[in-house]
Symmetry: C4
Subunit: 211 residues, 4 copies
Amino acid sequence: MATRKRPPAIARLRSFSDAVLAIVLTLLVLELLPDVAQSPRALLDNWPSYLAYLTAFLTIGSVWVNHTEQMSRVRRANPVVMFLNLGVLLGASLVPWPTALISHALKDGTRADQIAAMVVFTLVACLLSVPWVALDLYLARRPQFLASPEDAPWMRRHALTSAATILTALVSLGIAFISPLVSLLIYLPVFAAFIVARLLERAPVEADDDE
Amino acid sequence: MATRKRPPAIARLRSFSDAVLAIVLTLLVLELLPDVAQSPRALLDNWPSYLAYLTAFLTIGSVWVNHTEQMSRVRRANPVVMFLNLGVLLGASLVPWPTALISHALKDGTRADQIAAMVVFTLVACLLSVPWVALDLYLARRPQFLASPEDAPWMRRHALTSAATILTALVSLGIAFISPLVSLLIYLPVFAAFIVARLLERAPVEADDDE
Amino acid sequence: MATRKRPPAIARLRSFSDAVLAIVLTLLVLELLPDVAQSPRALLDNWPSYLAYLTAFLTIGSVWVNHTEQMSRVRRANPVVMFLNLGVLLGASLVPWPTALISHALKDGTRADQIAAMVVFTLVACLLSVPWVALDLYLARRPQFLASPEDAPWMRRHALTSAATILTALVSLGIAFISPLVSLLIYLPVFAAFIVARLLERAPVEADDDE
Amino acid sequence: MATRKRPPAIARLRSFSDAVLAIVLTLLVLELLPDVAQSPRALLDNWPSYLAYLTAFLTIGSVWVNHTEQMSRVRRANPVVMFLNLGVLLGASLVPWPTALISHALKDGTRADQIAAMVVFTLVACLLSVPWVALDLYLARRPQFLASPEDAPWMRRHALTSAATILTALVSLGIAFISPLVSLLIYLPVFAAFIVARLLERAPVEADDDE
């Protein structure tokens, strides 16, 4: 038979998503670059940029860790999976935008500017999370796309995590109307909890082998 | 025999194209980054940037989906394939340029500026599509480059799609002289039709397996 | 059994780190791009940018060489490895920031601006090196993560190198209070020594084969 | 025996170089992005940017085609190969800098600015080509690094091509003192000749197979 094996679409989906997330992570630094020499005082006064950078880095870093984990459990991709994944990447690639808005609004914006920046951050968080919930649920119902039977419950649990991200974003938005700074700071313990939870999970170590 | 197996040029063509498209997709956000704090009104007045961003994201996202699909059917590359592919990438990597032109022209440009921006968008769409039609037709006639006999008709069908893109761009350009905004908006139903058509195709799911 | 082999997390960690380091390396050039035509004199007066570019390129280039070498010895990744690696990438992706600060401070900044820029460079060097020491020590104690028994002593030696980087950064910072320029220039012989040391190591040649 | 197979350094050298070249290719567009709406006249007056963009795109595109071809013939990398390759990438990643200089100098610079921009372009071309000649000659003498015995003469021929690039750059520089624009235009027929020569070579088609 003349048909040859094709490279799997899922492999290219993984490498493309990796590239997009790596670039977003790296572009964040452009907001920190100065146009002129900075005095020590100017460097200290620039703290909102550092806080916004850290939040955005943790956002994209967490998306990458979750995406890697999820896609290692998927062995097939079809157009539905590819377009839902593009939806997640659309949200992720917008993250530098609210990051810059928040950074400028905290430095020299009015309270209204700060609230508007947090509204954009919330919208981008939802734009990232809504297609991800849809992707989780789509994969959870299609065992033929997954590497093992235990991956379907994983997808359902991940749908809950993605939904919790949307809820966190909405709660943070509510707080933004009282204090925009607090509504941003609230993300840091959420990321810390996520990282600690991941470090306590030991199961993947056994399953994961590079041979 | 001393000769060892060489890594296939087609594999590096795929990963290089992925990287270029991923970067173009991600650089689009740079146009959204503000220089100063934005008031809620300024954020709303910036709608042409969001529309231009969405159109450009859908353009590059569709190029990526098509390119992935096509290159999964190609198992060899020669210099002709590599240079025609570089032609496609030249067009794709220019997309942020008309995107920025359209965004500025809709915000504070004259009608002539808006038409000029759409002319550039049309030229870039053709620059992207003309080498792609050539690549499609080149591959359609060379079964020894393809993974399976069914891939030659696929390449011919894809040449028609690429030619249709050129036609859409020219029709949109004609409309630009009546209303530049409508000529941009016309791309959105075209992308929606493309996405719906891809989601209805179910065949690739069966053929695509990550083992 | 229905379980299929999963792609190893370590492979995606390698390709993601490659992408981040490649982008950081390439973004450095953005600081060199002029806004207007440059006279021959303006080009020569811009020497601090070239010195800062070279130092930053050598920093990221050395990180890449070390990272490649290290990760070729690791065959498993767990959440601890992935988050410590994200810590290293956080430091690496910040490098363009002190690079721009140093470049501007040497061109038109006060002595205080220059010292402040070197403080930021030192902080970023530590931010990059501290999680790397932790990663080295974590891997050195877990032979089940490593490709061969000889890799545990390699990890311990690399922890010493990473610790030496922190020490160099602190010594350079001390010198910055006497002469900021000398404190930057001190990195060049350190990189030269690192490159010469690597060129004299011949062992990897025998072990490394692309089949 | 406990030792496991390590991923080859040459594979990561290939993917890292691909990523660097893809990013450089894509960053070139940043120079085209306007700050304000552009009139049709302003778009036409911007022709030096388009010429500079095209030259830079062809430069990086040709580097990528050559690099892919060369590295498909190399099956081992040692620190010497990795550092010489980093030297090639240092030159390649600087290309956007003379591109921007030339573009600004042709638009609103003096004759001296234009000559200075071509001097920088020549220096960057040499910075790219000198380590490449060294890499070619290093590999030509080490058959144990190459995939097949026919690859040693290929490396020697490539050393001649890289040396010819240096010669072209120096001739172009001489012409720059008579006419900077002509000295830039001279690169276009050189690239055309390179592309035609590559398209006429048919041998790689037979050798290259994706299985």
